[in-house]
């Protein structure tokens, strides 16, 4: 039980993957860059998706690219949250001193929830159902980081 541990080819291979954003999310990101949230609606059941989807899984229905877009407000309600000292990224995971609060926020007028940090909220002040508002990054880039998190209204 005293075998040597070999850490093979650490640092030699780095596999970087590329993913096409796709036309639906591309439009969503363009709007984020302008500090706007948009979603799209299933023509059959009326569910509003944020971020937008090409297909409603429930109805197995394609949402046409040029139709069914909805402008949504930057407000929503908190439907779930967790507080964790663990931070994970695609290289490592570590424990940090100040835990992060991650919430599920249902944007008003949508049927899905976004998962982001809750900013400036002490655990005692968090209540499910509370109203929250997007805190935008000052210099937006058209990617998920344009939303810095959500704040209490």
């Amino acid at each position: 039980m005293n075998e040597k541990v070999i850490v093979a080819n650490k640092g030699l291979i780095r596999a970087d993957f590329n993913f096409w954003v796709g036309r639906y999310l591309d439009k969503f990101y363009d709007n984020l860059e302008n500090k706007k949230i948009v979603g799209n609606t299933c023509p059959k059941c009326g569910d509003v998706f944020v971020p937008p989807r090409k297909i409603c899984g429930k109805c197995n229905e394609v949402i046409p690219l040029e139709e069914n877009w909805v402008d949504l407000p930057e407000t929503g309600i908190l439907i779930n949250y967790t507080i964790t000292p663990y931070k994970v990224n695609d290289r490592a995971f570590r424990k940090v001193k100040k835990p992060q609060t991650i919430g599920m926020i249902q944007i008003d007028g949508s049927n899905t929830a976004l998962i982001y940090r809750l900013l400036n909220l002490e655990p005692d002040n968090i209540k499910l159902g509370m109203k929250l508002k997007v805190e935008w990054e000052e210099n937006t880039k058209g990617d998920p980081s344009d939303i810095r998190g959500f704040m209490k209204i």
């Binding site: 039980m1 005293n2 075998e3 541990v5 093979a8 993957f17 993913f19 954003v21 796709g22 999310l25 971020p51 899984g57 779930n80 949250y81 967790t82 507080i83 964790t84 000292p85 663990y86 931070k87 994970v88 990224n89 695609d90 290289r91 490592a92 995971f93 835990p99 991650i102 599920m104 249902q106 049927n111 899905t112 929830a113 976004l114 998962i115 982001y116 940090r117 655990p123 499910l128 990617d143 998920p144 980081s145």
Partner: protein, 380 residues
């Protein structure tokens, strides 16, 4: 459904850092299963394994497990899911009528890869992974909170499950040493460090090193191999949507539908009275309650009222369950093996008296997105 027999099994001892090669571990599991049934390599006609390329650090990772896994010059393939899903494919091969003996093995060594990072690769690469707020840790917190809020369940009720399973694990010699604790209290669990609030560290099934193997044979062949086969009389599987923000995390729709399918195949009308013991893959303490409710043991939100200890109304996870050790890709397969032990009277130290019918489940994905359930019956 036509009966398929489980004719042998083996699981290696679980370690947080096994410190011996994975091929030895695979060989130990598979060869041990063959030995348990008095069979040889030449008797194997098909092999299905469950591993994961990310967890193994190689692509097509079964390429190197051919010899230890019994797949040398045999019909062989791999499932990148839980070991319990590999059993499904083994079952299908036996039911195709083309095979006399299927080896199903699964497992990995969580000590040799960054578990949470590897699991981050499950998340949506475009929308979620760049910020990584959605990961296996935060999703556990969301799931437990959703369950508590929806039904008014207390953290104490959930901690009790962790206590029960870790106490049960203390009776199971193959469980992870770190998970075994005969003296654990609810207070200890609640006061253990925060994992993802409200989940605490002791409510988490710790990823570890381990491999398990199971042998399947058609009815006639099974009776030739052993006097003590266990029959697979039903199986059901189901999957819900991926996006957490779209799911009701307080219950498990996929397990509800999987168990309906399995009970229907097995002719089980009232699971609570007809099933004697359950081994469920609970990645966290709260999942045992969510899953047992979805199976229909109690109403939704009432799982904690069920007496689920060994000797209780419905013993759940007498082996300690996944909380007794969670080797990725083996955990669900181990649940099946533990159910088999119960039905053969081989659960030394944690035997449920007179167990004749059992269920065992596997799962995969964030918040148990995909569930599979087996109904098993003892041969004697």
């Amino acid at each position: 459904m036509e009966k398929v027999g489980i004719v042998g099994y083996n699981q290696v001892k679980l370690y947080s850092d096994a410190n011996y090669g994975r091929y030895e571990m695979i060989f130990e599991a598979v060869r041990g299963a063959l030995d348990s049934a008095g069979l040889k390599k030449k008797d194997i006609t098909t092999v299905v394994s469950a591993t994961n390329d990310y967890y193994d650090g190689r692509t097509i990772s079964n390429a190197l497990t051919v010899e230890p896994g019994g797949g040398y010059l045999a019909d062989e393939s791999k499932v990148e899911m839980d070991g319990a899903h590999a059993v499904l494919y083994g079952l299908m091969r036996i039911l195709s009528g083309n095979h006399k003996l299927a080896v199903v093995w699964g497992g990995s060594m969580a000590s040799s890869f960054p578990y949470h990072t590897a699991r981050l690769y499950e998340t949506d690469p475009i929308w979620e992974r760049p910020l990584a707020y959605v990961n296996d840790i935060t999703s556990a917190g969301f799931q437990m909170r959703a369950y508590m809020e929806k039904f008014g369940v207390s953290a104490e009720d959930i901690a009790k499950i962790a206590v029960k399973n870790r106490k049960n694990a203390a009776k199971n010699q193959l469980a992870l040493v770190e998970a075994q604790n005969p003296n654990l209290t609810v207070k200890d669990v609640l006061e253990s460090e925060i994992y993802a609030d409200p989940v605490t560290e002791l409510m988490v099934a710790q990823p570890c090193d381990g491999v398990a193997a199971l042998l399947l044979a058609p009815e006639k062949q099974a009776l030739k191999i052993t006097d003590n086969p266990v029959w697979v009389i039903g199986v059901g599987y189901n999957q819900e949507t991926y996006y957490l923000g779209e799911r009701d995390l307080s219950s498990s729709k996929s397990m509800e539908l999987a168990s309906k399918m399995a009970f229907n195949a097995a002719g089980v009308k009232n699971p609570l009275s007809e099933i004697d013991v359950a081994e469920l893959f609970e990645a966290y303490a709260h999942e045992e309650l969510i899953l047992s409710e979805a199976i229909g043991f109690t109403e939704k939100g009432k799982g904690a009222s069920l007496s689920s200890e060994i000797g209780g109304d419905m013993p759940i996870n007498p082996s300690g369950g996944a909380l007794g050790g969670n080797p990725p890709c083996a955990t669900g397969l181990i649940r099946i093996i533990e159910a088999v032990k119960q039905l053969r009277g081989e659960a030394n130290g944690y035997q449920v008296k007179g167990a004749e019918k059992a269920i065992a489940s596997g799962q995969i994905g964030l918040c148990a997105q995909n569930n599979i359930l087996y109904v098993l019956e003892g041969g004697n």
